[in-house]
Symmetry: C2
Subunit: 191 residues, 2 copies
């Protein structure tokens, strides 16, 4: 690919990157909490600024607030009663990730130059009008797989593989380790 | 490539790629079917040859058999009563994907040169001895996210973004489309 391969070095070397937000549509409160939580955790860990959740679900929002308190950063889950409003008000390209779309690789040069990108991922139910409302319908391959995977791969293409440093405000951080687990506290004000 | 999975320019341009298998450990039958199914679908769509599932779960195996019948390829879910046996018998590097590990980017050159790679992903419960049994414990960033995402990104780094062609034996395929959905039958013997 054209951007150099990976790592925080790749991130730091790119002078400007788009700001990315995620919109999760078709969430089913009570049925999808784990998958939607995975979508939100991926959005946060791979550098999106927020995830709009349609319909809203306080349980997912609270779970991510707990993650933010421990692990830092400013990522938020924002309840979205109307997915149309989120799409209509977004000031940049809206990319609906769907197995039926055109290959995302063709869009990447354009998306990397954008200032603000909205990535939309569906669950089991995707509203039909979304295909018309999005700027692009884009696929990661043409096989059935997972909205969690599609989101992760596109965020990786846009923003690079996430680095390993603590985020601002973290109470704890991981020390990358060849064997086992190392989690250490972060002194207040240090991250 | 040796496995006859799918064809994209990125894939075809690499002269040799590792054969990749996935091991899902700590699956909880009845609790994790959707997440484990997502792991399996990602393994298949991103070019792994099979997924060992520990403990075995016929429901997941049957779901993926249904996908194979419709969408082709040779991917299989193999029930694994012992994760240790799968790890011990694997003829190449065993990479346990964990948020606590060392950055995966450092390993990629070595993994790309390997003939056979086993990627191990855990669920909520990961057996402690796995950290010692794996050749490498590797992370995609050092924030909590998702085994589905970690697997997708590492497969993408090793094998490229999946292509859009039908797999051998497919009954149907997607025609990538800017708006809407286009799924067409594949005549027998054509894929």
């Amino acid at each position: 690919m054209g951007t150099g391969s990976s790592g925080s070095a790749a991130r730091a070397s790119r002078t400007s990157r788009p700001r990315v937000a995620v919109l999760r549509v078709g969430h089913r409160p009570g049925r999808d909490p784990r998958l939607t939580t995975h979508v939100a955790l991926v959005a946060r860990a791979f550098g999106a600024e927020r995830m709009y959740l349609n319909p809203p679900d306080e349980h997912v929002a609270e779970a991510l607030e707990g993650v933010r308190r421990r692990w830092g950063g400013t990522f938020r889950v924002v309840g979205a009663p109307s997915w149309r409003d989120v799409v209509r008000l977004h000031p940049g390209p809206v990319v609906h990730l769907t197995m039926y779309g055109t290959p995302v690789a063709r869009l990447l040069p354009r998306l990397r130059r954008a200032k603000e990108v909205l990535l939309v991922v569906g669950g089991a139910k995707v509203p039909g009008p979304l295909y018309g409302a999005a700027t692009f319908n884009a696929s990661v391959g043409s096989q059935p797989h997972s909205e969690v995977a599609a989101l992760a791969v596109v965020l990786r293409e846009l923003l690079g593989i996430p680095g390993t440093g603590a985020l601002p405000g973290a109470r704890q951080r991981i020390v990358p380790t060849a064997r086992g687990k190392s989690v250490v506290p972060v002194p207040a004000g240090a991250a």
